[in-house]
Symmetry: C2
Subunit: 312 residues, 2 copies
């Protein structure tokens, strides 16, 4: 990837996504001891950055591939993103969702035109159901995070952020499957080589943190975090990029995620999902390292279930 | 009031307030059957439109009056607004709050520099405590809604909205004490005489609706609404303006307020208080009357207690 190829992606996906605003708050700056710039992907179409990668991945299929549709297994934002991106491009999207997925998420995917198949709630069943659709329909499988086109698409949020604020010293993202982090790190290494990329990760699902330490992809036994978008694993496409271009991953406790979430909701007056607060929580926890710097935070999304919020 | 005098107010208060953004959403437009423009006073300093009226009222005091401070009794946003506006202008703000006020609100007032006196939770006690401070300190009493300078200050939100979108057919506000509604209606009658002003009011506190019908200020026996900013009464300064310039007040049920609130939170991804959703609920309930029109909604504020949200 180089500047030119990235700018082509930005141009290609532009008609299908929002250019999201970058917000800041004097009070948040005072609390953080640095200037914080929130890239608000909660205002993105379907409410999350995943719209970028999904759109780019479909646009990179051939006409013959597009005619047969796309398939993924996801119970989260990527299911909605792929459904909406596919609909915008006149492509069928087959979405395999576990029977354990909240009804509200299944309904959201259907509302964006996704064709939902429900399967038993194991990874094996998801992969099997998804493979069956690939074979039966000839649909192209698109992984939510471990796919080069998806990774490059996610990187466009950082490119926009750096266009608006070229002198950032650091950019923070959350890390779950690793698509946003890898995309951000790779794009930043090209557009602003002096800007360092960091991630926040819930201590409860610290697989990415441990993977960076051990040098191989680690897994989690449990996933007891309110940041439900971050329960997924790194993959072989995004992990090497993260190893090469990410400066550090900071772990944060659930109480720190909640505190950061509350600060964003009450001070910024914007609805963001717990996963989005993980990056800001990581900055707050390590603010001594970023004193008086300019720090970008990619707010990953804003899809919450109002009837199941993590507050008291 | 005329255009010139209003523009002078806008200019005078500008250094102390935010020019708030106007947001819209394709999906909200589809649901509403019209183009909706949300004037986001939840992004205002201290989180509500009240900052405008408080600032204007203090700026209209003489230097001698300012030196002795200002006083009000309020447990809501005006207490915070007066405290912050006073601090910005180097003036002392004495705030009388009932002992029943939530601790989080008392702390918020103190954080903005307000000098808090706690009194028993009756209107009589509040007025007495406030009068005692007027006499002892020589402070100027400023009413949260029944004061000409406050009313004119609140009207500046509509002026900005009409500057951004001059061809609005209608503007909706919530109505509680009546300051925002009167200010909006008066300013709109001058800046956009063809644009009609409407209010939404909770059916549980329908005093303004009944007052318009009866021609005199009515009161409520009970106030069982989640829109806690709208439990206050009209006054003799704002009621005549509302009678002259407001086209209609629409009542909305609590379930309708909740539905509108959820739509704004989940679709716009912004944090607004229940009172702010009342105006949008009134539009949704009467959308047949506004088909294909351009409708402004003044989002009054975004101060919520995350530990006491009205969701399940």
């Amino acid at each position: 990837m180089n500047k030119q190829s990235y700018l082509q992606i930005c141009e290609k996906i532009a008609p299908y996504i929002h250019r999201t605003p970058v917000l800041s708050s004097q009070l948040i700056n005072e609390i953080s001891g640095c200037e914080v710039f929130f890239k608000c992907e909660n205002f993105q179409k379907m409410g999350a950055f995943k719209m970028r990668g999904a759109t780019n991945a479909i646009l990179n299929l051939t006409a013959a591939q597009r005619a047969k549709g796309v398939v993924t297994h996801s119970s989260g934002n990527f299911a909605q993103a792929l459904s909406l991106a596919a609909r915008s491009l006149g492509v069928k999207a087959y979405i395999v969702m576990p029977s354990s997925a909240p009804k509200v998420k299944i309904e959201a995917v259907k509302a964006y035109g996704g064709i939902v198949s429900i399967c038993p709630p194991t990874l094996e069943d998801r992969e099997e159901s998804s493979k069956a659709i690939e074979q039966e329909k000839g649909a192209s499988f698109l992984h939510p995070s471990n796919d080069d086109d998806v990774i490059h698409g996610q990187g466009t949020a950082a490119i926009e952020l750096l266009e608006d604020h070229p002198s950032l010293n650091a950019i923070f993202t959350p890390v779950g499957g690793g698509g946003l982090l890898a995309g951000t790190a790779l794009a930043t290494s090209i557009f602003a080589p002096d800007c360092k990329v960091y991630a926040g990760e819930p201590a409860e699902v610290d697989d990415a943190y441990r993977s960076l330490k051990s040098g191989k992809i680690e897994t989690n036994e449990t996933a007891n975090t309110m940041a439900d978008g971050l329960k997924t694993q790194l993959g072989d496409r995004n992990f090497p990029i993260i190893q090469e271009h990410v400066k550090a991953i900071f772990l944060v406790e659930e109480t720190e995620i909640l505190e950061a979430l509350k600060l964003i909701w009450t001070r910024m007056k914007i609805v963001v999902e717990p996963s989005a607060a993980v990056a800001f929580a990581a900055l707050l926890k390590n603010k001594g390292l970023f004193k008086n710097q300019k720090v970008g935070i990619i707010i990953s999304g804003g899809n919450v279930d109002l009837d199941n919020l993590p507050f008291n």
